[in-house]
């Protein structure tokens, strides 16, 4: 059914359609609307779930961990400081190979305190073993949650999935979306059938410690399965298209990229802005295109190399940075290209803390990249810098 609703509402309804048995909730802007909408859905009896109002995000993730271990599909949402607070638990969930979906609403990280959008928060958990999918618009983020449970619970994966959506830009924006029916989702996503769980009928010990003689191999197994999950992400995207008729890309997607001289590479809602910029440039005869990274973990190295190698210049536009080093997506793309292609890659950090990325910002980045800058920070305002 087509309706015009807030992004947060779209997420809440999609999650409800996935029939989680346990939801844990802790408020933090700009994720809060999601958990509020879900609590209303539960309060109205439209979803049979236990809704646990926890006392911190560390506990929110821990409640999900316990619930999944006991055999119930589970859900939570968080952002920024809350995401950082639960990092320890996220490593634990991935290491214990528990399927779970958490919405990572992208927001800047303190200090200074800032509630607006960038992607530094989910970048901070890229090493945990969680799969990460980044959504471009509200339809995609809705669809992504349904796909995420299917990917996560697949026996070949058994790793948690974070669905990343830009805070405010997607959560608080009203777009027209096509909401599937319960029947459609039930047919696509069967109920959770754990490979192992806490059950007195067949008791197991979960979370035993592993010494130097076996920890190394246990972590290797996680890496292998995380890398292998790439195929399941693609498979599920194809299956979703068959079932629901919608395609948002699988691990990457491209827009007017085949004959492009310059390619922008980015993740999340900024893809929409980049597509508009590309259309305007193309109308002037400029051969430019966009590569959207949809699945950041596992990192789609092969697919990206194939997509960008033939261009004359690649510009990575990202809303994150690894302090003391370079942009993160830029560094990973360069590593993937090593030995495969010598296309120059410019890394541009932009839009931190909710700073708007406009057509002018993208023009600036393109000009500076053409002038030879390899790592740049876009839209730095001199008057603000001098204010210090």
């Amino acid at each position: 059914m087509r309706k015009m609703i807030e992004g947060s509402r779209a997420v809440a309804e999609a999650v409800a359609l996935c029939r989680p048995g346990v939801i844990s909730a802790y408020p933090i802007t700009p994720q809060t609307h999601i958990v509020e909408e879900l609590s209303q859905i539960v309060a109205d009896g439209d979803l049979d779930a236990e809704y646990v109002r926890v006392e911190s995000e560390h506990s929110a993730a821990s409640v999900c961990l316990g619930a999944v271990a006991a055999g119930s599909r589970s859900y939570s949402a968080t952002t920024s400081q809350g995401l950082l607070l639960m990092v320890e638990v996220l490593y634990n969930i991935a290491g214990m190979r528990l399927p779970l979906v958490i919405t990572g609403v992208n927001r800047a990280i303190s200090a200074p305190l800032n509630i607006w959008n960038d992607q530094q928060d989910t970048m901070a958990i890229r090493d945990t073993g969680w799969l990460q999918l980044y959504a471009e618009d509200n339809q995609e983020v809705l669809d992504m949650h349904i796909q995420a449970y299917k990917i996560s619970e697949d026996d070949r994966v058994l790793l948690p999935v974070m669905v990343c959506m830009d805070g405010f830009i997607l959560t608080h924006t009203y777009e027209t979306v096509d909401m599937p029916t319960q029947e459609q989702v039930d047919a696509f996503l069967p109920s959770y059938d754990p490979l192992y769980k806490l059950d007195p009928a067949d008791p197991y010990t979960l979370g035993a410690y592993a010494g130097p003689e076996r920890y190394h191999e246990a972590r290797y197994t996680i890496q292998q399965d995380c890398l292998g999950a790439k195929e399941i992400v693609k498979e599920v995207a194809r299956d979703f298209q068959s079932a629901f008729g919608r395609w948002h890309g699988d691990v990457i997607d491209t827009y007017r990229a085949e004959d492009a001289d310059t390619l922008f590479v980015a993740m999340g809602s900024v893809i929409g802005t980049l597509k508009d910029w590309v259309d305007a440039q193309r109308a002037e005869g400029e051969k430019v295109g966009v590569v959207k990274v949809r699945c950041f973990r596992p990192f789609p190295a092969e697919e990206l190399v194939a997509a960008v190698s033939k261009a004359k210049r690649v510009i990575v536009l990202e809303k994150a940075v690894s302090m003391g080093s370079t942009g993160i997506l830029a560094a990973e793309l360069r590593a993937a290209l090593y030995g495969q292609s010598t296309v120059p890659v410019t890394g541009a950090v932009a839009g931190l803390g909710g700073r708007d990325i406009t057509m002018a910002t993208i023009d600036e980045i393109k000009q500076r990249a053409d002038a030879g800058e390899l790592d740049l920070w876009a839209d730095l305002r001199a008057e603000v810098l001098e204010d210090a």
Partner: protein, 93 residues
Amino acid sequence: MSATKPRRRPPLGVVTRPGTSLRNKTGSWGILRPVFDWEKCTGCNTCEMICPEGCLRHLEKKQYEADPDFCKGCGLCAAACPAKAITMSEEHR
């Protein structure tokens, strides 16, 4: 619910089977062993209850013994016995 296709084994290190500690014979730890005087025993079961290993048992009502595979020789049973029917002995190992 049964799947027609057999499922994979759990990933390495994730699941540990119950009771597998029984492979670890801690009886080699100690130097003392409890010696039970079945004549003095009143059958109160204190020793069996108090053992941190849970390796004491009784055959008949007042015939207690310790499992040499797991007894660490801590002496709690001897200390707790109200009838003083247990002594810790090195020779008895």
